[in-house]
């Protein structure tokens, strides 16, 4: 297992005072809290910061950690010295706490590896029951999956108590149904699919939905934005052109005299609605006039002719030039 430099994780010196440690921890906890931070590794960082605080805020644990010596560097291969973990019985961790901490932590302070303290507590209270913890996982789906609905396979690491009351992490695969019309940021609650209880009910699993960036569409709630390139003559003369939507290609009538950045609405062509009203979102088509990259002689002549005929038009009139 890897050695963890708890001082480095909190960004404090080895001789930092209790107040320094508390201040550093609070600051980092706010920064990396998974409900606050949008950074992709926020959850891992938050756990790491909590683990470092758990050790450094407690003088006994800090002394034990310091006794490992200063020769270590973060990431070094670590083997616990003989006698490490002697204080196990003094620490009581719940399964959820133990599961949050690293193997490195467990090898020194118990917890994940040997739940001596926890087993002892259970023996003393035969009626001890504990509901499993709720878990939250992020799930990334495509816009197409949100439109049509989909089944997704999830792999989860679940902490579990084995027969001797020790915590083990178990890999689990779940097939989850994603309902059509789900929108970004919404959660799916899977009752009883969270952490296992100890004599109590299991916790719930909450899946929070994120959309993969899409090359063509952008999503706002149930509405879909799409940029639609059109030719100058389609914009000038009007035309009926194909537009891609999540439900398939549709025909859109471009009015004569259309401009770049003009937005046209395709009602009900966004993500499907849910509930009793089932109001679907709309698709908004933003026009973008695109010129042919090259002109042959005939086209050049036609443009020159156009230039003469529309000579009075000044597209920069608003700029006063």
């Amino acid at each position: 297992m890897e050695y963890k430099d708890y001082y480095k994780i909190l960004g404090v010196a080895r001789d930092a005072s209790k107040d320094d440690i508390k201040r550093a921890y609070r600051k980092l906890a706010r920064k990396y809290h998974p409900d606050v931070s949008k950074e992709t590794d926020a959850e891992a960082r938050f756990k790491e910061v909590n683990e470092a605080n758990e050790v450094l805020k407690d003088p006994a644990k800090r002394a034990e950690y310091d006794a490992l010596g200063t020769g270590w560097h973060a990431g070094d291969e670590f083997r616990p010295p003989p006698g490490a973990g002697a204080h196990r019985r003094e620490h009581e961790f719940s399964a959820e706490e133990a599961a949050h901490f690293s193997d490195f932590f467990s090898s020194i302070f118990g917890g994940g590896g040997g739940m001596g303290g926890f087993g002892g507590a259970r023996g003393a209270r035969d009626d001890f029951r504990r509901r499993g913890t709720d878990q939250t996982a992020r799930i990334r789906i495509s816009l197409e999956d949100a439109y049509h609905g989909a089944s997704r396979q999830l792999r989860l690491d679940v902490p579990e108590f084995d027969n001797s009351g020790q915590v083990q992490t178990r890999g689990r695969t779940l097939n989850v149904r994603i309902p059509a019309g789900i929108t970004e940021g919404q959660q799916i609650r899977l009752a009883g699919q969270g952490g296992p209880g100890l004599g109590g009910e299991p916790g719930d699993l909450f899946l929070e939905v994120e959309f993969e960036p899409h090359p063509v569409y952008r999503c706002e709630g149930r509405d879909i934005d799409v940029r639609l390139p059109i030719s100058p003559w389609e914009a000038a003369l009007g035309a009926t052109v194909p537009v891609p939507t999540l439900g398939g290609t549709v025909s859109l009538k471009i009015p004569a005299g259309s401009q770049s950045n003009q937005r046209l609405r395709l009602k009900g062509r966004g993500l499907p609605g849910r509930g009793s009203t089932k109001t679907a979102g709309d698709a908004f088509v933003q026009l973008e006039i695109v010129n042919p990259p090259t002109l042959d002689d005939g086209a050049r002549t036609a443009y020159q002719d156009l230039s003469k005929r529309c000579g009075a038009f000044n597209p920069r009139a608003k700029l006063g030039v």
């Binding site: 695969t173 149904r177 919404q186 706002e220 934005d225 940029r227």
Partner: protein, 111 residues
């Protein structure tokens, strides 16, 4: 590592999913008093009903309640601090969406 294969359908916590105050306490693992406090602080907004027993909360509020409880617990915030944090987080989320929309509209200039 043992593996288990299951096919399951969850409950989508959107504006069409509605729970009672009792169900909300079960999902959040808190007692009624904590929910009442969050409502009185404006953290949670029940949909209707004069008495708490008649209140309903949408899936959106369920998510908000859980988020509030996590923030309170992990960052040792008091209730009004939690309310402020949630409001600011909502506002940041709106601004992020707005930035993404503007970036999308400007996309042609960056290609």
């Amino acid at each position: 590592m043992a593996q288990r294969q299951t096919g399951i359908e969850g409950v989508l916590l959107d504006e069409h999913t509605v729970v009672s105050i009792t169900e909300l306490t079960q999902v959040c693992g808190v007692d009624v008093d904590q929910i009442l406090l969050m409502v009185s602080e404006g953290v949670l907004q029940p949909t209707d009903g004069a008495q708490p027993e008649q209140w309903h909360f949408t899936g959106i509020e369920v998510r908000r309640a859980r988020r509030a409880l996590r923030l309170q617990r992990d960052l040792e915030l008091n209730l009004s601090g939690t309310a402020l944090a949630l409001d600011l987080l909502d506002e940041i989320e709106q601004l992020r969406r707005r930035v993404r929309a503007l970036e999308h509209h400007l996309g042609s200039m960056r290609d």
